[in-house]
């Protein structure tokens, strides 16, 4: 094995060591064969590691040291809203009265938890301008699918079974078309115009009696506000379609514009983005959906309501699309979001958006001289540069992203959105200081200069990380997706 390899937990295993402390067995021993038939009694042990408690802590501490989080350093990953994750949220989520509550307990024993659900629904309804909210979806994509299923059920209830098309702009998140497919729709792509906004004429030419919905992110993935939103709403509603809001970018418009007031019929939010539920290395998230009263009849069951002074789970929703998840969504995550909203209040949420947008515009203007900026109007919470100027000099956007690692930064989102060549999508968020932004800008400017003067240093980056660029082709061609004890260590030369 290579001397610099980080051991796998399985490689630390030694027969005879244990890392557990189970409760004392205070009942008589049983003969398992008297309870289970021979065929279902496991013959071969599962090869889980045999390690001590300290081995485990050292192992995972070592792994954590090989990972970059928001608490490690700046993380301007566009479209992901990598803001600070408040620690009070973590404390509240661990209260035994929240963490140790079983979802199937009697309603009377979970009134506090249901009150959180209900009150958060009310807060999100006000923030989005949508009258009804469900917290059941587990993540953004899950919310998209849930809302599309509700839209489909609405059309079907009206006998509109011919509405099989969902319109999606070319700049949309990949989850939009994917969610449309799993909700049983066909996707139609709508073009962007030269300003980076939805091409209204193209939209008009593509709507019709088969239109179920238009999915839209506003501001869009270029960080630009769709100024024609009311006209777009009129076009889609004019043919009987519904308007769907992808709330991934809500951080840009809180207290400035609400989806409900823009004409949207359904909205999903990413509570792990705008509302600080941490990203957790990829999840868990929480993707509530808000809808108009017209669509509310189709909400997933159960619906949490307040009846007099009590909070209840209402299963009597005859037109419901059914359950989208066992129990009531990712409670532990939306509890964190609730804690955050209550920490900020109305003034705080307004300041969040204002500072997020101010930070993004400041960075954009300072970087504009050094990189191509395809769309020059004011941005909202994020902006997209193009690395095409640097590409001509031999350093691609990927190279510059890797070079940023040497400065201790997580790079921006790259190669997205798809309608910008060599895209570099930067979202600073409001929780970063001017000093942090300035330091990052300086690093970007230095990299731009390196590309002109010494491109190799960029092309060969990163130079300081625990590992260099990895061979992704090999990973995909000969997939090794699990550890196998007998397997010879990976040392063969790359072909």
């Amino acid at each position: 094995m290579h001397k610099d390899n980080q051991s796998l937990i399985f490689e630390l295993s030694k027969p005879g060591r244990i890392g557990y402390s189970l409760p004392e067995l205070d009942v008589p021993e049983v003969d398992v064969t008297s309870i289970l038939s021979q065929g279902v009694i496991r013959k071969e042990d599962a090869e889980l590691p045999e390690v001590s408690e300290l081995d485990i802590m050292r192992h995972y501490t070592a792994l954590s040291n090989r990972n970059h989080g928001v608490d490690t350093g700046f993380y301007p990953l566009g479209s992901c809203t990598m803001k600070y994750n408040p620690k009070i949220n973590e404390a509240v989520a661990r209260f035994p009265g929240f963490a140790r509550v079983h979802p199937l307990q009697d309603e009377s024993t979970v009134q506090g938890a249901l009150e959180v659900v209900y009150d958060l629904q009310q807060h999100l309804a006000e923030i989005t301008g949508m009258p009804q909210v469900t917290l059941q979806p587990a993540a953004g994509a899950h919310g998209e699918w849930t809302a599309l299923m509700m839209i489909r059920a609405f059309h079907e209830a009206n006998g509109d079974t011919q509405r099989t098309k969902v319109l999606v702009p070319d700049s949309a998140h990949g989850t939009n078309p994917a969610s449309a497919t799993v909700a049983g729709f066909d996707t139609v792509t709508v073009k962007s115009n030269e300003k980076g906004l939805v091409d209204l004429e193209d939209l008009k030419s593509k709507v019709g009696p088969d239109t179920a919905a238009l999915m839209l992110t506003n501001p869009n993935t270029l960080g630009l506000f769709e100024e024609d939103i009311l006209e777009m709403a009129a076009v889609v509603h004019g043919v009987g379609g519904k308007l769907y809001y992808d709330g991934a970018n809500l951080n840009a418009v809180m207290s400035k514009a609400r989806p409900g007031d823009m004409g949207f019929d359904a909205v999903h939010l990413n509570l792990h983005k705008t509302f600080t539920g941490p990203h957790g290395g990829g999840g868990p998230g929480s993707g509530p959906v808000g809808v108009t009263d017209e669509l509310a009849a189709f909400m997933p069951k159960p619906v949490v309501q307040k009846v007099d002074d009590r909070f209840v789970l209402n299963y009597d929703v005859p037109q419901s699309i059914g359950r989208v998840k066992p129990y009531y969504g990712n409670f532990g995550i939306y509890l964190r979001a609730y804690t955050y909203i209550r920490s900020m209040g109305p003034d705080g949420l307004k300041a969040v958006t204002e500072y997020a947008v101010l930070n993004a515009n400041y960075m954009m203007r300072r970087l504009e001289p050094y990189f191509d900026l395809p769309y020059t109007q004011h941005c909202k919470h994020e902006f997209v540069l193009s690395g095409r100027r640097q590409k001509k000099l031999g350093a691609r956007t990927l190279d510059m992203a890797k070079r940023l690692l040497d400065f201790g930064y997580h790079p921006p989102t790259i190669y997205f959105p798809l309608n910008v060549e060599e895209a570099i999508m930067i979202e600073p968020t409001e929780t970063e200081s001017k000093e942090t932004l300035d330091n990052f800008i300086d690093a970007m400017i230095q990299i731009a200069k390196e590309v002109e003067e010494n491109p190799e240093i960029v092309q060969e980056a990163p130079h300081t990380t625990v590992i260099g660029r990895l061979d992704e082709t090999k990973a995909a061609r000969k997939p090794v997706l699990r550890y196998i004890k007998e397997q010879s260590p990976v040392e063969e030369t790359v072909q």
Binding site: S37, N67, Y327
Partner: protein
């Protein structure tokens, strides 16, 4: 506006506006049409200080009965198991919980390796060839297994056993509706899937047979027989398995399963009022390129150092868009990490011992209920749940039990009218003999 999460000062603001070349923040929002501009203030609760918010939320939490203060016999898919203290210490490391999806492998090796280890442990327990990095939960994982099978076989019918958790069945139905797939329920007999009925119902339109192991009633299904029937008709065998039980039960992979899914909540993950938990998704190799969600694979860098990357991404929504195998993006990474720590702590010996303890304590409880005259239905193969005829409405029984510091079993009349007065009682390794005896005594007292 001063707030501890917002570092902007008045001077910063002034300097930044000057650089941008505007005179106010409002100007940056001038592209929002007047007609849709929100002019008022959100009518939401005002901000609270850290201290008073902790107090208020502490009061709300205190209104909930919880398994830390009560002895919980409530299972039905979510269990009170041993949670090694170290789990919370590991997942509290903010290098893990404040990170995004590991798209930049050079600075995400920790997360990527942790997922690779998770995938390996799930393979070990389930006996499957590969596993993904996690799904939302056991219910949606089962639903995605169903849609995968429909896509793979190009068939439009799923047979789901009545012994699968009712909420999971409901989720399977919703997902199937999305893709115009029919879902048909196979009835149960004596608490297990009715094999004769399965044979009658399965046909060449069936994409898959979906069962649970141990099933909703705590019984152990005959997976080999069910898998064989599925395969004879060209259908896939899909098993939703409690991974903790697999410490002692033959893994589904050795009994013909093509897809094994489930929830890793029993491994170190709190009940948390139903979520977040941690779905897992494991398959045989032939289905590798159809798996939903993220996969981590091993590779190396140019110096030969071993490393890990997200791989086979051509299945996923951010590459394939409307042709993706699933729309899943965010998963349950942090909870997969929690489960990995718990699985590691248990290790090769502990996983057997914990599974055995569940069987032993459940066997003791069974005997105790029966001795007191309360019939335990089905059997004899109980893992850690018993269907007990309490001879009184469960809601009333459970109220009495609460006074004794006990959270009673699940009221089965909520899902099956024929099981009025029956509770599904979970007896994990966490329950003591004393607590089990107290449960039985209270039932006796009710009938005295």
């Amino acid at each position: 506006m001063k707030h501890r999460y917002l570092p902007m000062t008045e001077q910063d603001q002034k300097d930044m506006l000057e650089t941008i070349g505007v005179s106010s923040i409002d100007e940056l929002f001038s592209d929002i049409p007047e007609k849709v501009r929100f002019k008022g203030e959100y009518q939401i609760k005002p901000a609270k200080s850290e201290t008073s918010l902790l107090k208020e939320l502490g009061r709300l939490a205190a209104k909930n009965i919880n398994a830390q203060e009560y002895a919980s016999f409530l299972g039905a898919g979510v269990y009170d198991h041993y949670r090694p203290i170290i789990v919370d210490h590991v997942i509290s490391r903010s290098e893990f919980y404040t990170a995004y999806t590991p798209y930049q492998p050079e600075i995400s090796q920790g997360e990527l390796q942790a997922i690779f280890e998770f995938q390996t442990m799930i393979c070990e327990l389930t006996g499957m060839e590969l596993a993904n990095s996690s799904m939302y939960d056991g219910g949606t994982s089962l639903a995605e297994a169903g849609t995968l099978a429909a896509g793979h076989t190009r068939r439009k019918k799923l047979l789901v056993s009545a012994t699968v958790h009712n909420e999971s069945r409901a989720v399977v139905k919703s997902y199937a509706d999305g893709q115009y797939i029919d879902v048909v329920t196979i009835p149960h007999t004596n608490g297990v899937t009715d094999i004769d009925k399965l044979k009658e119902m399965i046909d060449d339109e069936t994409a898959a047979v979906l069962v649970q192991y141990p099933n909703f009633y705590g019984q152990v299904e005959d997976l080999q027989v069910i898998s064989d029937i599925a395969h004879e008709h060209g259908a896939l065998s899909i098993v939703s398995a409690n991974p903790l039980a697999l410490g002692l039960l033959t893994p589904p992979g050795a009994l013909g399963a093509d897809i094994t899914v489930g929830d890793a909540q029993p491994f170190g993950i709190a009940e948390s009022f139903g979520g977040p938990h941690c779905g897992y998704f494991a398959v045989s190799k032939k289905l590798m390129r159809k798996v939903p969600g993220r996969l981590v694979g091993e590779t190396n860098d140019d110096q030969g150092r071993r490393g890990y990357v997200l791989t086979l991404q051509a299945r996923e929504q951010h590459i394939r868009r409307d042709k993706a195998t699933s729309n899943i993006c965010s998963n349950q990474a942090l909870n997969a990490l929690a489960a990995s720590v718990a699985m590691t702590a248990l290790g090769k010996e502990g996983i057997k011992e914990i599974a055995y303890q569940n069987i032993a304590k459940t066997a003791y409880a069974k005997q105790a209920f029966e001795k007191a005259g309360f019939e335990v239905k089905f059997g004899p193969a109980h893992f850690n749940e018993l269907v007990v005829d309490c001879k009184a409405p469960i809601q009333d029984v459970n109220k009495r039990l609460l006074d004794q510091g006990i959270i009673g079993g699940y009221d089965l009349s909520l899902v099956d009218e024929s099981l009025a007065n029956h509770a599904l009682i979970a007896v994990t390794e966490q329950r003591t003999k004393e607590e089990i005896d107290a449960y039985v005594q209270e039932l006796e007292a009710i009938h005295a």
